[in-house]
Symmetry: C2
Subunit: 592 residues, 2 copies
């Protein structure tokens, strides 16, 4: 299989040329010195790590998987993972966007997302261990006491320890109000945590010396709903070195991400400490969850990029049949399958989804840095609005398209793709979970229509639409402006429909949620494609020597507008079809 | 996981009530006695076999897989498969639609397809062994000499032996003109076959006493193209009992269908006999292939049905959250997820695709019986036209939707679906190959636009469209007539575009093929949904006591028209977008 190569040129195009991200970042007090010398050097180092250390372990990690020993309750990760993880931690990659005060490098969050894309292209399973740690770091940074931060953050940030998020239980995933794990107060101010958690990524492993579990549990007499949940930190080993009562009870047997240990965790009166206020666990959890959702989006993007590289590499080498317009490689026994329009269609769908999603994701990531650090509260608020609005879109659409690209890529390889020899069937299996965890994509769609559209009385969506409108007005002659404007109008119609109907009947919004999110994403990508094509045309007009790179952008925008964005009318029609045909069915009729 | 239950009620609805299939079959000389007593009894027996014998081995077969012994070159199938296969053969299921002259039961092909659906719902891997045998039976029946038929057909039809189709080689799958396997004439009229074939389903196994390989190979001095391929039969054991030189060199490691032995086959001067004429192997192969393509469509349908049953069963039991319109199960800790519009949307998409595809498939299968057996040559020709036109649609669309339903079903289960505990991730993996083998779905789309639209100068497609038009005229007040008519008009526009443009430039047809096939299938399903709803309304009006069954049909048609068929405008737009944006890319720009 072709070796993964990080798409650094395209990353720079989006970051430097389309988003002008350095200029934005330099308005933030802590990033004034962050320029493209430093950014470029970091991305190059990350690319080396992904290509040379992480990617070579992806297939073997899948085949070997994790091993659980019921005697010792220990988990062994696949061969090579420990050493690769150590390199990851020692290279400072766990610390990239963390607080300098606790050993972090204080670099932008968006840069961390770019690194995450490469890590997930190379080895999603391995990337998940530090990925989850990041969630724990965010929660402690936002909600921990000073003492807790001093005690735990340096270990997590350096990667000496890893972290987990222990939310799901057998009887509940989406509806965490139903959890049964209990926290009983101890005399010393700590708590005894008891209960069973499932699907705990990195719940047990031999990568690092200690594991810090962040556990949702209920205090005695807590309200019986999501308002009765508290968050606790539960180290595997206590400060005194004692093994705490948090044991792995087994591993899940999964479709993919087999190198990632997905554990059943039994908390047996484990000693834990409250993070944040009692019964406010859900809001602490959302601190972990929101940035985790963006990161899951990057997983989808990373998988898609790798799938494209594998399938393009295969298509170029595979000689089969002749072009419909007559032989193109007359000296060979057959033409490469690149000559076939349908193969090109498949590859180009991947290409424009990937590059469009990359732009959307970096744009969103940039809002996170501005929202956290800008000195002007109005600017912070506007960025936070966009961040919140776009987070469910990035999570859902990038993971849906990650899976679609992996499948499209597999199809290019035909039977070869179905074997384990090319690594692309693994991408299909690995990517499948990204549409589910950190809130299923259906939940993301509900979040978009139910919470985010109404944010600040519609302020967030108005401010996003104003950006698109502003761009259209500023570029009246952009060649892709007409297609964008037409689809944007459909998105506005759909939005108005949902806001109006959903106000009267939330089930109308629920019925429209999934097609609406997709329409929202497709129009967003159309905006970014129009922008990217405009930048590319400027470069070509200015005589850039990178003609293939820039002309591909313009042609990709053509392809996107004429062959992908076409989906928008059907989505609008489905949104406005209303809930009637969904709700009409009785339970009996579903099974009839 | 919920146990699979064969959807007999729906099968009867489509077969008896919508298609009135018994009436059609009774016009055929050999089926005059075939009525719904016999048909119903056979389907019930097949259901028992699928539910009780095949389904229980599906998960274990996946987990255990097939084992290859490099010493003996033998392949061991998963535990239980041999005994289940013996029951399958002894029950007469291999013989169902075969010639009575050689031990077959002479029952309709469409009935065999219905059985195939159940078999593939229950256990695709196991079903593939007799499935491939069926291809060999068809090829021998059509092209074998009388002596060959007498020697081999009884063994294959009884299931004592199995058959294979040995086409693909490492350097070629789609383009069989590139095969390298050679056949050298022996003095006794037989041939010595040498070469390597890959992806040979059931190439070696321990299910049956002997295996008859049908092998594509080149005679000395054969033309260097698909016109230089001949078909040979190569038994594993010769009539004298000698082991022939056809050995398994190893098994593929695949994403799914792990209970099906996918073999590398080495032919080492194996003794073989020509079937049909020299250099006419491709047309013999298409005899195997065409009915195999329909059967692969049934695999997609079978998987989809099973996925729907699993996900519906899960959704009904899973309590999580509350309905957006207020609690529905106030006495329980949460409502079942069936209350959520987005979950209903997911389940209903599966349901209407499955039932619509079932109607399309049975309609197509019925054409096969008429085309083979009707006494009037004009009726035969019309049926054969429809059969040929619809075969690539059934193969592609039913396998695409089989995969989509499996994925949608998995999504309903969330994290549970990603584990091996519920059997639905296996359906995703198993179904993935059906979009590839027997001609990738891209090839099917090319077959539709490149060969089938032009069949008899457009006779086939005109005759199909006339049926839809005729139905619309005969049902001017059908409640789903407007939606059907509108989408049908789009299909006609798309067809005209392809025929006109493709005549001048075959790449235009190639560029439109995949969205065109999907549009063709969606409109076909719309026709069947309109018909099914009309039949159901009649039954309800006539006071049928099966109100849930029939009202579900009408509501499903509503759902299909308002939330699935909406895709059609975008597909038409993509068809007519033309090839320009696909062909504009240089090789360098693909990688830019």
């Amino acid at each position: 299989m072709p070796a993964y190569r990080a798409p650094l040129r395209d990353m720079h195009f989006v970051f430097d040329e389309v988003l002008d991200a350095y200029a934005t970042l330099q308005t933030l007090p802590s990033q004034r010195e962050f320029g493209n010398d430093l950014g470029g050097a970091i991305l190059e180092e990350a690319a080396k790590l992904a290509e040379n250390v992480l990617a070579p372990l992806n297939a073997s990690g899948d085949q070997q998987g994790c091993q659980y020993d019921p005697q010792t309750k220990a988990v062994k990760v696949p061969d090579g993972f420990r050493s690769a993880y150590q390199q990851f931690a020692q290279g400072g990659w766990t610390a990239l966007a963390c607080e300098p005060e606790f050993g972090g490098q204080g670099l932008p969050h968006v840069l961390n997302m770019m690194v995450e894309e490469m890590v997930c292209s190379a080895n999603l399973s391995l990337g998940m261990y530090p990925g989850l740690t990041h969630g724990a770091i965010n929660a402690l940074t936002a909600h921990g006491t000073r003492a807790q931060q001093e005690q735990y953050l340096p270990k997590l940030i350096s990667g000496e320890w890893t972290g987990t998020m222990c939310l799901t239980e057998p009887q509940c995933g989406t509806d965490l109000g139903l959890i049964r794990t209990r926290a009983l107060p101890n005399a010393d101010g700590s708590y005894a945590i008891s209960g069973t958690k499932i699907w705990i990524t990195g719940g047990e492993h031999d990568l690092a010396d200690n594991i810090l579990h962040l556990v949702l549990a209920k205090l005695p007499d807590a309200p019986n709903s999501v308002k009765g949940i508290s968050l606790f930190l539960v180290p595997k080993f206590l400060a005194c070195g004692t093994r705490n009562g948090a044991f792995c009870g087994g591993l899940e047997h999964k479709m993919g991400i087999k190198g990632s240990a997905t554990c059943v965790m039994n908390f047996e009166g484990a000693q834990g400490w409250l993070i944040g206020e009692p019964n406010k666990g859900m809001s602490c959890m959302f601190t972990m969850m929101n940035s985790a959702r963006l990161m899951v989006g990057m997983q989808g993007l990373g998988i898609a990029e790798n799938a494209y590289q594998i399938s393009l590499g295969f298509a170029r080498e595979r000689l089969q049949g002749r072009a419909l317009s007559g032989p193109k490689m007359a000296d060979k026994p057959a033409d490469s399958i690149m000559v076939h329009p349908d193969v090109r269609r498949n590859l180009l769908r991947q290409k424009v989804m990937i590059e469009g999603c990359r732009a959307l994701a970096y744009f969103t990531g940039l809002q996170m840095d501005v929202a956290h650090q800008h000195q002007d509260p109005e600017v912070r608020e506007r960025a936070d609005d966009l961040l919140q609005l776009l987070t469910p879109v990035v999570k859902s659409f990038l993971t849906d398209e990650g899976f679609n690209c992996a499948n499209d890529g597999l199809q290019v390889l035909g039977g070869s793709g179905y074997t384990q020899d090319w690594g692309i069937e693994q991408l299909v299996r690995d990517s499948r979970i990204t549409r589910i965890y950190e809130g299923t994509n259906g939940i993301q769609a509900l979040d978009l229509v139910g919470r985010k559209l109404g944010l600040g009385g519609g302020r967030a969506v108005r401010s996003y639409f104003a950006l698109i409108e502003g761009w259209l007005q500023a570029h009246p002659h952009a060649p892709h402006g007409t297609a964008l404007a037409q689809a944007f109008k459909q998105l506005q119609q759909a939005t108005l429909w949902i806001v109006t109907q959903g106000m009267q009947d939330p089930e109308q919004a629920g019925a429209a949620a999934t097609p609406y999110l997709r329409l929202f994403a497709l129009v967003s990508l159309a905006w970014f494609w129009a922008r990217m094509a405009a930048v590319a045309q400027q470069q070509l007009a200015a005589g850039s020597s990178e003609t293939a790179f820039y002309s591909a952008k313009v042609k990709s925008a053509d392809f996107y507008m004429s062959r992908v964005l076409t989906e928008s009318s059907g989505l609008l029609a489905e949104v406005t079809a209303g809930k009637a045909s969904l709700m009409a069915f009785s339970d009996e009729e579903f099974a009839a």
